[in-house]
Symmetry: C2
Subunit: 364 residues, 2 copies
Amino acid sequence: MPDLCLKSAYAVGMQTPEPTLADVAARAGVSVATASRALTGARPVSDTLHRKVRDASRELGYRRNAVASALRLQRTETVGLVLPRYTTGFLSALIESVSDGLERNDLSLVLRYSEPDALHDVGNVESLMARRVDGIIICPSSLEASQESIEAAGPVPIVQVGRFVITDRSDSVGLDEDRATQMLMAHLVERSARRVLVVGLDPDAPADARRIRALRGAAEGAADVDVAPFTAAVLDGGIRAAERLVAAGPGALPDAIVCANDDVASGVLAVLRMRGIAVPGRVQVASLLDLSPGREDLTVTTLRHPWPEMGREAVRLLLDAQQSRREPGAERIARRVSLAPQLVPGHSTRDRTVPTAPDSKETP
Amino acid sequence: MPDLCLKSAYAVGMQTPEPTLADVAARAGVSVATASRALTGARPVSDTLHRKVRDASRELGYRRNAVASALRLQRTETVGLVLPRYTTGFLSALIESVSDGLERNDLSLVLRYSEPDALHDVGNVESLMARRVDGIIICPSSLEASQESIEAAGPVPIVQVGRFVITDRSDSVGLDEDRATQMLMAHLVERSARRVLVVGLDPDAPADARRIRALRGAAEGAADVDVAPFTAAVLDGGIRAAERLVAAGPGALPDAIVCANDDVASGVLAVLRMRGIAVPGRVQVASLLDLSPGREDLTVTTLRHPWPEMGREAVRLLLDAQQSRREPGAERIARRVSLAPQLVPGHSTRDRTVPTAPDSKETP
DNA sequence: TTGTAAGCGTTATCAG
DNA sequence: CTGATAACGCTTACAA
């Protein structure tokens, strides 16, 4: 007499056993095969039996055991998401959009955080493979992490999302910040900005330096781009920078101020408003980073980062890769999707048609 | 000859098959049973065989198949987390802390978002049950959702987390906001606040109305509590509210301003500083909601919501429930844990010992 | 259309 | 201590 430990546990009444397909079949008076076919719809089943099975299933409160199913099908209908443990609001937007995309395809999401180092990333990927996920979406914390994770994933489809992606070995969804930054500058130049001041970016930080380069590149002689002495990229930084600027006298005022993010812009705007400097009449203000995704009543011209779209796109790539993995043919070539942040015009920059009005005044 | 579809797929070379325990056993020259025992450590195995198995496993790159294991053990080592699709930063703190707690116990997290209605909550619970999760942590979006979810979970342990929890039917981790709100008011009253203005709360929103009631209740005649016209509970709302207040003249200034959250408080503080109104000398400022968990350099007195602790506590309760579910004995009684937000004193309220100094001035 | 039975990969029981 | 083997619950090839 073999292993009865599980059954005997039930017998003790410790818990009600979940009804199995066999139970349903027995109650409907059919074979398990028929029951399976009736419920999954994999094969045609006569109407009468179909009904019987459905009824029996309902009566017993049957729920398909996804674990057994996964073992048989060699497919868990589960996708892993690996994220660095940064506490930025963006990642939660990414989680939501990935989750949403997966749900639409009846896939489950198993989530895993990495400390921001490559080793942990790889460990998480490994552990997801042990769970036999059908695919992995990963937001690598660095380029090395990216590289190693792809290798660790081996044959399971993996999609990289975010800023640090190795592009040739796997699908990836990147952020085209340069293009967006350039769009913002073009927006300002179109609106007659000739002297532009950048506030809240740190020229010594590589990422910020790159943004500054992108701004200068887009200005291309049409405008001068100065960088204000670095202040923290928060409200207070904006306030301090603006106060310093205003204190330097009216001649020091640029046509436009580009802020590191919405918070900085709020600070700048508050100071300008209080000093009676018209926005956007005298000075235009824009932000490189929308901090409150979801808010529609923004008044400052800003760049909205497409985290929701990135999640959806990642899911799409993953499903596509799975699809083509089932077909025998040639190796699938890696896809690289690049999304640019979206320029959201607000009231802090001018209407394109309104001409420059450098001397207009406006009280708050 | 039965079903060879899976093997034949391998044979075609469509993908490398993952090595199985049988492969490892064969290579090590032992039975699968021994291989299993050697790798899991469930039973003692002689040193030599142990080594052989470990070597074979490494050489083949063997990874335990968690799906098969789960089917056999009737345990997936997986916990479901169901969240409402609000876009608040807190939920992501909750996700992180739950994830962390689970990881420490070698459990996987499968995440599911509900639209904020009961039906969707129940659907998510059902779907997690189909995946045979070992437990569920749920942040219900409403009291009805809470009720129905518990019922849907049936025998699997479920822990509720958050504001809306039915307490008698399942374990729960709640938030004692009233108590925290009262503590904040007491803090201010102790510091001689007699006229308190509330900024950024919407009296028409039930949750905000409740906070206002809690503030008034705690003031209890010791202070007057006014509510400023509603502005959005964001940075800019704080700026606007403060500007309006300052414009109304010095007589309109209260002793203390309670802001809906840190962002609002930042805005208020910025304006006050710019107008040369001393904080905390002339006006004290406090916030009902810490928005940046993790930051330690806060300068504003605020209530820190214990989301990390809530996640950890939820996991603890879940594990505890699983534990006692294995033991045959009596039914486990529901545990209710209530955590209060923590009052974090900052520089925006006075030292308790410093007396009121209503006329002091201070330049920014 | 339906039934029979094999097998997905692992672990626990039982017999050596 | 080790090996053979029967499940776990489901899906499908094959036979009827």
